[in-house]
């Protein structure tokens, strides 16, 4: 897995935010569209594509998209 693919999938969870406004260094919780609902779609995407569970704390403790990618990467590694 790589962070470019994760970024692409992460961007797809937003309806109103342009993909250009989201990169790996974006503090995603500061995006106007970010909401508990978008958080659930991110959890669902990670469950679907990477087969690992994100928790509320994982989302709360991450600031940037890259932070979240690293959490997912760590969980995927641990599950192998």
């Amino acid at each position: 897995m790589n962070n470019a693919e994760f970024l692409e999938l992460f961007r797809e969870q937003f309806d109103e935010t342009s993909p250009n406004d989201i990169d790996l260094e974006t503090s995603f919780k500061e995006l106007p569209e970010w909401s508990s609902m978008v958080a659930l779609t991110v959890i669902a995407m990670v469950d679907d594509k990477y087969k690992v569970k994100l928790t509320g704390d994982d989302i709360r403790n991450a600031t940037t998209v890259d932070d979240l990618f690293n959490v997912v990467k760590g969980k995927v590694k641990a599950s192998l």
Binding site: L40, I43, D47, K53, T55, G56, I59
Partner: protein
């Protein structure tokens, strides 16, 4: 192993009562962006009990209607299980009070079961297990909740999602019945994902219990009200529910396409649709009652089953799977085949 098989017991009747008063999420001024909320949660109406109405009142009303429809003599009911997390009192158990209110025999086996979203599956397993050797011939499962009393308007994570309901399910000893199969699961590591923190004996009620705590993002409630970690519950549910159903299918040698209905606990549409898609089930196989009744905890499975069956002309060899998941964390699934079940219309309780 988490599996159980109960023989010789049939599900013979279903009834439900909901408070007459209901709130329309689309018209509720306390909800921001109501159309978006209804679309994502699937929840439009919530039936809300008055201050003086308890879960037991709703369940007793449902039970009375069902006993009438079945033409049962209450003195011949051998077992009453009340499954709720909003009982009348911390003690005594409410099932004893219900036994008396319904005129059920003093020889009856009565017990409260403190479970929420998964509770119906567990109560069904307890009742069927007790009855399968024929000593107890008629049983009632009363599942319900008045959880709206724990969901303040200041908490957007619970207030628009939960409603109140009481249900009654009748079981009868029947040597010709096909077996009821179960799968169970529990993960107490997530005990605080859905919790009322104070008022029990771990954290007795104190002055601070009444103070509102602001958790941010539109979530403010006291420690005597419901706290829900939405993201954790979602992550748990979209894994545990499909896994439980798959394990049950495997245990029973069952084929998904041959199951008429999968009746899931009604959490919210976004979560439930995720579960449906993970299991590759058709829209027709997965009925909902969320739009009209919201999330009613242990009542959702019988309420959804009743709403679904009432619209059918005949009920003859209808294989179903039920699956509950949530507070505990606790989950479970059951399989049974329904035949000639007596249905009582969903009653509006005043």
């Amino acid at each position: 192993m988490g599996f159980l098989k109960a023989n010789n017991v049939s599900l013979v009747g279903l009834a439900a009562s909901v408070p007459k008063g209901r709130v329309d999420n689309l018209l509720d001024p306390n909800i921001q962006d109501p159309e978006k909320l209804v679309k994502s949660t699937g929840i439009r109406y919530r039936h809300i009990a008055n201050d003086n109405v308890c879960t037991s009142d709703l369940c007793i009303d449902a039970a009375r209607n069902l006993i009438d429809r079945l033409c049962w003599n209450p003195l011949e009911i051998d077992c009453v299980l009340f499954v709720t997390q909003t009982p009348d009192y911390i003690l005594p158990a409410t099932s004893n009070k219900i036994q008396n209110a319904l005129g059920i025999s003093k020889d009856a086996f009565c017990m409260d079961i403190s479970l929420g979203c998964s509770g119906y599956v567990y109560a069904l397993s307890v009742c069927a297990s007790l009855m399968q050797n024929g000593s107890l011939k008629r049983g009632l499962i009363l599942a319900g909740v008045t959880i709206s009393k724990l969901c303040p308007v200041t908490d957007k994570s619970t207030y628009p999602l939960f409603g109140d309901a009481g249900t009654a399910t009748a079981l009868a000893f029947d040597e010709k019945a096909s077996p009821i199969l179960f799968h169970f699961g529990s993960d107490g590591a997530g005990y605080n994902a859905i919790i009322v923190e104070d008022g029990g004996f771990r954290n007795p009620t104190n002055h601070e219990s009444f103070q509102k705590v602001n958790y941010g993002d539109g979530i403010e409630h006291s420690r005597l009200q419901l706290h829900l970690e939405g993201m954790d519950v979602f992550s748990f549910a979209i894994n545990s529910a499909p896994n439980s159903v798959n394990q049950l299918l495997q245990y029973g040698g069952l084929v998904k396409d041959e199951i008429s209905y999968f009746i899931f606990h009604q959490a919210n549409l976004f979560m439930n649709e995720r579960i449906r898609k993970k299991l590759s089930l058709s829209v027709e196989q997965v009925p909902y009652s969320l739009y009209d009744y919201a999330n009613t905890s242990s009542a959702t499975i019988p309420l959804t089953l009743l709403k679904t069956l009432i619209s059918r002309a005949a009920i003859d060899k209808v294989p179903i799977i039920g699956c509950g998941f949530g507070v505990g964390l606790s989950w479970g699934s059951f399989y049974t085949e329904l035949n000639n079940i007596i249905l009582s219309e969903i009653n509006n309780f005043e």
